[in-house]
């Protein structure tokens, strides 16, 4: 264990997500290098950065898929995420959307959402579980939110790309997470879908904390939130989009290219 460094400018107390000095390397390649940032409850943050900046690795570390070599990752100031596996972290209330939409293609839209319901997810419990009326209502609600009510009996595999993205977001909402990690939600979407997705995320951010990883600058601007610029596994700049867009360092490594 590393010695705790002197007071950092970021507060761990009352935070929902707290990363401090996180480093990960693969065969000498440093994917994350002393990465530190904080997300407050109810806050939405967008993370941008060039390819290989460590965005996906950061997601992996938070969700328990990759163990950091050094550094701390805390959820709600109390839970050390580096010790837990993916399923435990999900059940704590951290949802993750993949870059490529992944839904259960041979299940119906409705079943996809039912499977994502918050609750006891042990094998024994699911073997004998029955859908309660309350839960059915919740599913209907979410179907409305993600605009898939009339598609609820479709196999998820038959949905369009954008619809899959929404279904996946809907699945995350079913878990009722306190923190949502969203990886490139508008990649491959039409312009109309992109606008709708931005609306959807802003709606979600009213009740939960959201971290969005994104390439699309227009989309990030429409989110109207704080931005973190990642470069070589390290935070290069942080602030409003306009502020970081004018940061000479950022222009140099990312925007200016």
């Amino acid at each position: 264990m590393e010695m705790k460094v002197v007071a950092k400018p970021i507060a761990k107390e009352s935070s929902i997500l707290y990363l401090d000095g996180v480093s990960v390397s693969f065969d000498g390649f440093k994917a994350l290098n002393d990465l530190s940032f904080v997300v407050q409850p109810g806050e939405m943050k967008a993370i941008i950065g060039p390819n290989g900046a460590g965005k996906t690795t950061m997601m992996d570390v938070i969700t328990g898929k990759t163990r950091p070599d050094t550094g701390e990752v805390y959820f709600k100031d109390a839970t050390d995420l580096t010790r837990l596996d993916e399923a435990r972290i999900v059940n704590l209330g951290i949802g993750r959307k993949f870059q490529k939409p992944t839904v259960f293609e041979s299940h119906t839209v409705f079943d996809n959402l039912e499977l994502s319901l918050k609750g006891n997810k042990s094998p024994f419990a699911t073997l004998f579980s029955k859908l309660s009326a309350d839960d059915a209502l919740k599913i209907e609600d979410t179907l409305n939110t993600i605009r898939l009510t009339d598609r609820k009996d479709w196999l998820a595999g038959n949905l369009s790309h954008g619809q899959k993205q929404w279904l996946e977001i809907g699945m995350l909402l079913m878990q009722d997470p306190e923190l949502l990690l969203v990886d490139e939600p508008v990649a491959g979407m039409t312009d109309a879908e992109t606008v709708e997705t931005a609306d959807l995320l802003r709606l979600i951010a009213k009740t939960r904390s959201v971290v969005v990883v994104e390439h699309d600058m227009e989309f990030v601007r429409s989110l109207q939130c704080k931005v973190i610029v990642l470069h070589e596994g390290h935070v290069l700049a942080e602030g409003s989009l306009d502020k970081v867009a004018n940061d000479p360092e950022v222009i140099d490594v990312y925007l200016g290219r």
């Binding site: 596996d85 399923a87 259960f104 299940h107 499977l115 994502s116 042990s122 073997l127 009996d153 878990q175």
Partner: protein, 391 residues
């Protein structure tokens, strides 16, 4: 899914009444075949062409054991995407447990007349029964072991494998290595399971002569009941939320994990259930064929089971049963009529099924049917939209 008006019939009947149309049809066919076999063997005179000779009863009993084994493989492969190339091992272990009981039933009627020791132990100059043979003179202990031993092996093996996330072909290869290691082990005389001769020369089961017609019919009926129960259990599992999680794991393991399911526990549970079913299949198989030897562990056997399921249609339970019966019927026919041709046929089956029938007969034929209907202009959109019809 919905359980409306059959609560009074008890949970068991709800298993049947909850089945979708295809499942009910399957149970009906199974019942009809079993009933006809019983009647055809006992009531219809031998001179009639409708008579079912006893050898045919035993042959069908054997097919039913294979069908149960195929169900167990389908449960994990078809629904959870785990390709086990070691299910023959669980089948054989169940068979050996039953064989050990049957060995003890021989008593002093063996060649050497030793009341305690099976012949092969006397032959090896053993003085007393090894500890792991004790208790096998009791049918209920043996029946318990039929389920416990494969289940325990599956638990230990799966515990290590799934926890360290050994997946896909890696899992297949190490399950193959597992059954290969068991094959080598059971060939050894000092393992105490009869070496390469295995266990044989059985006399009776629960006091009834194994070679009597009544016993053979009884074993057939037992196998049919086992397949029916196995089918019901599998149907219950696959239609429950648990079963839908399995399919979710098959299609998107990572997503399932990030939806909050402990994937390894699910895999472990279904692997153990499947191994127990395979063990039971082996236990019904051994008294009907009269022998169990290490060659049952050979990797080729386990892989053959997979092709039964693939031919029938994986991910559909009655496809597995259909595949097992069809392929084995073909095997019986061809190894008798054209022994040279059988391996060509089996090899061709492996290649052609994976290339041209990836969903098996049950999955592909309705698809063709739908296409024909589409051509005829009578297309119903719900055919491709709901995924629940393929039980």
């Amino acid at each position: 899914m919905k359980n409306k008006n059959n609560k009074a019939l008890g949970p068991f009947f709800s298993l049947i009444t909850d089945l979708p149309g295809g499942g009910k049809a399957f149970m009906g066919i199974l019942l009809a075949v079993a009933l006809y076999t019983v009647i055809g063997n006992t009531l219809i005179p031998e001179s009639s062409f409708a008579h079912v000779p006893t050898y045919m009863v035993t042959l069908m009993g054997k097919y039913l054991c294979y069908a149960l084994l195929a169900l167990s493989v389908d449960l994990i492969w078809g629904y959870c995407g785990i390709l086990s190339l070691g299910h023959g091992a669980f089948f054989s272990l169940g068979g050996y447990a039953m064989g050990m009981y049957l060995m003890r039933q021989i008593g002093d009627r063996g060649v050497y007349g030793n009341p305690e020791l099976p012949d092969f132990m006397v032959f090896l100059n053993w003085q007393e029964l090894p500890w792991y043979w004790s208790g096998f003179d009791n049918f209920f202990v043996a029946a318990l072991m039929v389920m416990l031993v494969p289940g325990l092996l599956a638990f230990v093996f799966g515990w290590f494998a799934f926890r360290s996330r050994v997946t896909g072909v890696y899992f297949s290869i190490i399950t193959q290595a597992m059954t290969y290691a068991l094959l080598l082990a059971f060939f050894r005389n000092d393992m105490g399971f009869g070496g390469n001769n295995g266990l044989t020369d059985f006399k009776d089961l629960l006091g009834f002569d194994l070679r009597s017609d009544g016993m053979r019919l009884g074993l057939f009926v037992g196998s049919a009941v086992a397949v029916a129960l196995g089918y019901l259990i599998c149907a219950f599992i696959t239609r429950s939320k648990f079963g839908r999680v399995l399919i979710a794991i098959r299609d998107a393991e990572s997503r399932t994990r990030f939806t909050g399911y402990r994937v390894e526990f699910y895999k472990l549970s279904v692997f153990v259930i499947s191994a127990v079913l395979a063990g039971i299949a082996g236990a019904f198989y051994v008294p009907q064929v009269g022998i169990i030897n290490p060659s049952e562990f050979s990797p080729a056997n386990s892989i053959e089971v997979v092709i039964w399921v693939a031919v029938g249609g994986r991910g559909t339970l009655w496809g597995a049963v259909l595949g097992a019966v069809l392929v084995n019927w073909g095997k019986s026919y061809f190894t008798g009529a054209f022994p040279e041709a059988w391996l060509y046929l089996l090899g061709g089956l492996f290649v052609c099924t994976t290339l041209f029938l990836p969903k098996g007969i049950v999955g592909t034929v309705p698809e063709w049917w739908a296409k024909i209907k589409l051509r005829l202009g009578r297309f119903k959109p719900d055919l491709i939209q709901t995924g629940k019809g393929d039980m």
